[in-house]
Symmetry: C2
Subunit: 477 residues, 2 copies
C-alpha cells in the first residue's frame, strides 16, 4: 500500500525559484545562506508540476497542469498510507512525499510528525456567534510545535546532501525541533543565542536532544550575522527559516486540513505572525492544492500579530506591504517576538492573493484568548492564542462571517510556556494597567477563566461548601 508510485519519482525533482527576481537555479548551486546571489531575496521550491502555483503568483494564471499528479490517485494513496506501519507513511509530512523534494527514502529523518488533530471549538464558536470553529493543533507534534513539520523536511535534505552539522540561531521552538531531528539522524547541531537573560525553559529541549549551544556576546541579529558567516566557511547546514525546504514541510498541514475536512475548503485560515514563514508555507500548500485541481478556491489566509511585535501589520497599514520597517519587539508571546521577519514579502503575497487580512492584538487579548482555548481542553502556547484573539476582531467587523468556517492554526503546546499559564492564573500576568482598558465583557471573562487554587481545611464539608458556591455545583443525589 505504501510502495513507490510513478507519481513519486517524477515529483521529487525541483528547482529553487527566487521570490524576488524570479531567477530559477539548480538546488546544487544555492548559496549556503539561502539568499539569491542576484537580488538577496528568498527562494521557494518549484516542481515540474507546480510551475505557476507558488503562493506568490496570482491565483488564476495557469490551468491545471496536463501531466501533473492526479488528485484522485493521490487522495487515495495518502489515505491508504495511514494504514501502513512504515515510518515514512506514518509521518503526516512524508505521507505527502509525492509533493515534496526528496531523493531517497533512506535519507528521510522522521519522528512521526504531523497527523495533528483538527479540534472543534464549540464554546469559542458559541461566544463568537459562529456555527463552527476549528483549531488545527500543530503543538501536538513530537517536540511540541509546528516547527517539526518543516524540520523533518529540511533536515532530511541536509542528510541527503551529506552534511554532518546543522545550525540555527534560536532560543525557542526552532532550536528544539532542529536538535531533535539532528539527533535522530545522527547529526550534530549548533544553536547560537545572545548572551545574557537566557530563558532556560526555552533551551531545555535543545540541551535534552544534545545540541551544542553557544551564547554569543551580541544580540539576536548579531547571532544571525555570525551564523551566516559560519555556514559560508564551514560545511554546516543552515536551518533558519530562510531555508526553503522547511517551508515545504510546513505546507503539509494545509493538505491535512483539507483531508480532515473531506476536501471542503474552509473559508478562513488564521495564522500567528512572527517570522511569517508559516503563513507563507500554508499559502504555498493551499495554492498547490488549487493548482493541481484538488480544490477550486483558496481559503482566505489571515495573519495575526502581537501589538508589541507588529511590523507586518504596520507595513500593510502604512504602505500596503511595499516596505517593512523592523520594530523593537516586546510581547510575552515569545514565539512571535520578532521585529524583523525574514519572510514578510512572501506573507504579503499570500495575504493579498488569498484575500485575507493582517490584524494586531494586545497582551490582554492574547491572555484571555489563551485561557479560552485552555478551557476548551486544548491549550496552547501564548503565540498560538493570537489567532482566536484576532478572529474576534475579524468577526466583530464582519470580515469573517458567522456562518463561515474558520480554522485557527495553533502552533505550540501549552507545556512550551507553563510559566505564562501560571502567571495568568495567579494574577501576575495582567497587571492593573493592562486590565485598566478592559471592557466589562473582558473583565467578566477574566473572572470566569482564572483558576487560582483555594486553600481549605482537609474536611469534606469545607470542600462541598466551596463547590456549592460555584456555578454548576454538584447536586446531592
Amino acid at each position: 500500500m505504501s510502495g513507490q508510485s510513478q507519481i513519486t519519482s517524477s515529483a521529487t525533482s525541483h528547482v529553487l525559484l527566487c521570490t524576488g527576481c524570479s531567477e530559477r537555479i539548480n538546488p546544487k548551486d544555492v548559496a549556503s545562506n539561502f539568499r539569491c546571489r542576484a537580488c538577496g531575496d528568498l527562494y521557494e521550491v518549484e516542481y515540474p508540476w507546480s510551475e505557476g502555483a507558488p503562493a506568490a503568483a496570482p491565483m488564476e494564471r495557469h490551468p491545471r497542469p496536463v501531466n501533473g499528479p492526479n488528485p484522485s490517485a493521490l487522495r487515495y494513496l495518502w489515505q491508504e498510507r495511514r494504514t501502513s506501519t512504515l515510518s515514512i507513511d506514518q509521518s503526516g509530512v512524508w505521507r505527502f512525499r509525492d509533493l515534496l523534494p526528496i531523493v531517497s527514502d533512506d535519507k528521510i529523518t522522521t519522528l512521526r510528525e504531523g497527523n495533528t488533530p483538527l479540534y472543534e471549538m464549540p464554546r469559542s464558536a458559541a461566544s463568537l456567534g459562529m456555527n463552527w470553529l476549528l483549531a488545527k493543533h500543530q503543538g501536538m507534534n513530537p517536540t511540541g510545535s509546528f516547527k517539526d513539520a518543516g524540520m523533518t523536511a529540511a533536515l532530511s535534505v541536509a542528510v541527503a546532501n551529506g552534511y554532518e552539522w546543522v545550525a540555527c540561531a534560536s532560543t525557542g521552538n526552532t532550536s528544539a525541533a532542529m536538535a531533535a531531528y539532528a539527533a535522530r539522524a545522527g547529526l550534530r547541531s549548533l544553536v547560537l543565542i545572545p548572551e545574557g537573560k537566557i530563558a532556560w525553559g526555552k533551551l531545555s529541549q535543545a540541551m535534552d536532544y544534545g545540541s551544542t549551544t553557544i551564547q554569543l556576546r551580541t544580540d539576536f541579529d548579531g547571532c544571525v550575522r555570525v551564523l551566516t558567516e559560519i555556514v559560508q566557511r564551514s560545511p554546516i547546514y543552515l536551518l533558519n527559516s530562510v531555508n526553503p525546504y522547511r517551508l515545504e514541510g510546513q505546507k503539509t498541514p494545509a493538505f491535512e486540513i483539507l483531508e480532515q475536512s473531506d476536501w471542503q475548503v474552509p473559508h478562513h485560515i488564521i495564522v500567528p505572525g512572527g517570522n511569517l514563514a508559516n503563513c507563507s508555507a500554508l499559502g504555498k500548500g493551499f495554492a498547490e492544492m488549487k493548482h493541481l485541481g484538488f480544490i477550486r478556491r483558496m481559503p482566505k489566509i489571515s495573519v495575526i500579530q502581537a501589538a508589541g511585535a507588529n511590523p507586518l501589520y504596520t507595513s500593510l497599514r502604512d504602505n500596503g506591504g511595499v516596505s517593512l520597517t523592523p520594530v523593537s519587539a516586546d510581547t510575552r508571546a515569545t514565539a512571535i517576538r520578532i521585529g524583523n521577519p525574514a519572510s514578510w514579502k512572501k506573507a504579503v503575497r499570500v495575504i493579498a492573493s488569498s484575500g485575507g487580512w493582517c490584524e494586531e492584538v494586545t497582551e490582554r487579548e492574547i491572555a484571555l484568548a489563551k485561557a479560552e482555548i485552555g478551557a476548551e481542553g486544548i491549550g496552547c502556547e501564548p503565540a498560538s492564542a493570537v489567532t482566536l484573539a484576532g478572529l474576534k476582531k475579524l468577526v466583530a467587523d464582519g470580515r469573517v462571517g458567522k456562518e463561515e468556517t474558520a480554522v485557527l492554526l495553533l502552533t505550540g503546546h501549552t507545556l512550551k510556556d507553563a510559566q505564562y499559564t501560571i502567571d495568568y492564573h495567579r494574577g501576575e500576568l495582567l497587571n492593573e494597567r493592562e486590565m485598566a482598558g478592559a471592557s466589562q465583557a473582558e473583565l467578566a471573562q477574566h473572572a470566569g477563566l482564572r483558576r487560582e487554587p483555594l486553600v481549605l481545611n482537609a474536611d469534606a464539608d469545607s470542600i462541598l461548601r466551596a463547590l456549592d458556591s460555584m456555578a454548576g455545583a454538584p447536586q446531592p443525589a
Copy 2:
C-alpha cells in the same frame, strides 16, 4: 469504513470483577470509591468474551472463546479506521472500541489520544549490545502523558453515567489529563492537592484546562481520604487510578505495540512503576490479545522503580509480593514518587504471570538514562527513563537477551519537567555525593551527554575553533 459492526454491539456489555474476592457485580452497583464492598480490593472490567483472560489469571486456563470477536476481522477493522475522518476512529484508544466498554458513540470524549509512535533507539541498543530496542512514547499524547489513554475511557463513562463533576487527588499528569478531558466534555473538574510546596509547573495544565484546584491542609493520603468521602456524599465521579475504566484505556497501547510490530510479540515490555496501574493495564491488554487468539504468547512485563520509591521492589524481594509495606517516597522522578501504590496486587500478578521482573534504579542511573533517551532525539520525563536504566540491569545479568526485542514504555514528554533537564545539563542535578559512586563508564557517559552552553565572542573564528575541539567537528570543504 468506520460503521458499527456486530462485534461492537456485543462487546460493550461488561461486569466488574473484584480482583481480590472474584465477586462479579453489575457496573451500576459499584461503590463510588470503586472498592469492593466485600473485601475492599480493586475491580477490573470483564467482558463476555474476556472471561478467564484478566491479567490476574494464569495464562493457559481457558481456550479462545468460541463466540468471541474474530481477530482477523478486528485487525482489518482497526487498520481501516485509521483512514476515517471521524474523531472516534482517529483516536488510538477508541479505534479499539470493540474491546472497550461504552454505551454510545455520542458519549465518547476524545482529544485524538493514542496512535503514539514506536521509536527505534539505535544508539541505546548499540551501547547495550542489543540488535534492536524500541520505545513506545506515550508522552506524545495530547496532554503529554500516558494518562490520556485511560482518561478518555473513564471520562466517557462519567459522561455516559450523567455526571457533571469529576475529581482526583494529584498534582501531576493525572490532574492534567482529567482537566483536559473534563473541559472537552463540558464537565467541571476538581483537583485536590496537599497545601504547601506546590510545584506550580505541575499544576499549570490543570489550571489552563479550567480545573478547580483546592489545596488541603493535609498530606497526599489525607487528600485521598477526603476525596473518598466527597464522592460518596456528592455526585462527583472519582478519576483516581482505582477507577477500573482508566485501565481499559491504558490497555490499548498493548494493542498498538502489537499492531505496529505486525503482530510479532516483543520479548520484553519495560514499564515505570509508580502507582502500578500502567503495568496492570498493559498486562490486561496483552492477556486479552492472547486470550482472543491475536497472539500466541505474552511478552515478559517488567516494572522498574526508582530506588527512592521502591515499595513493589522491596515487597517482591522480601516476601515474593505477598504483602506490601508503604515507603516514604523520595525521587526527582516525580511521576513515580509514590510510596503506597494502589494497584500493587495487580502488578504482582502481571509480573508473575508474564514472567517479568521488578528492578530498582538510582537517581544517577535515571539521570543518565534520561539524557541518553534525549540524545536519541526523543526525550522524556525522568520517570520514563527508569525503563532504560532498568533494562541495562536486566541485560547485564542476562535476564534480557541481547538478541531479544524489548519495548520501553515512555510515559511522559520531556516538556513535563523542563527543570529536571535544565538542572542536569547545568550540573545541578547530580551532586558530588551522587557522582561519587559512579563507574568510569558512567563518568564518561555523563561528560559526553552534558550540554552546558558555552559563552563566546560574537565572531566566526571563535565559534569554529570551539567546534574544532569537539568530536565530529565540521571539516572545511
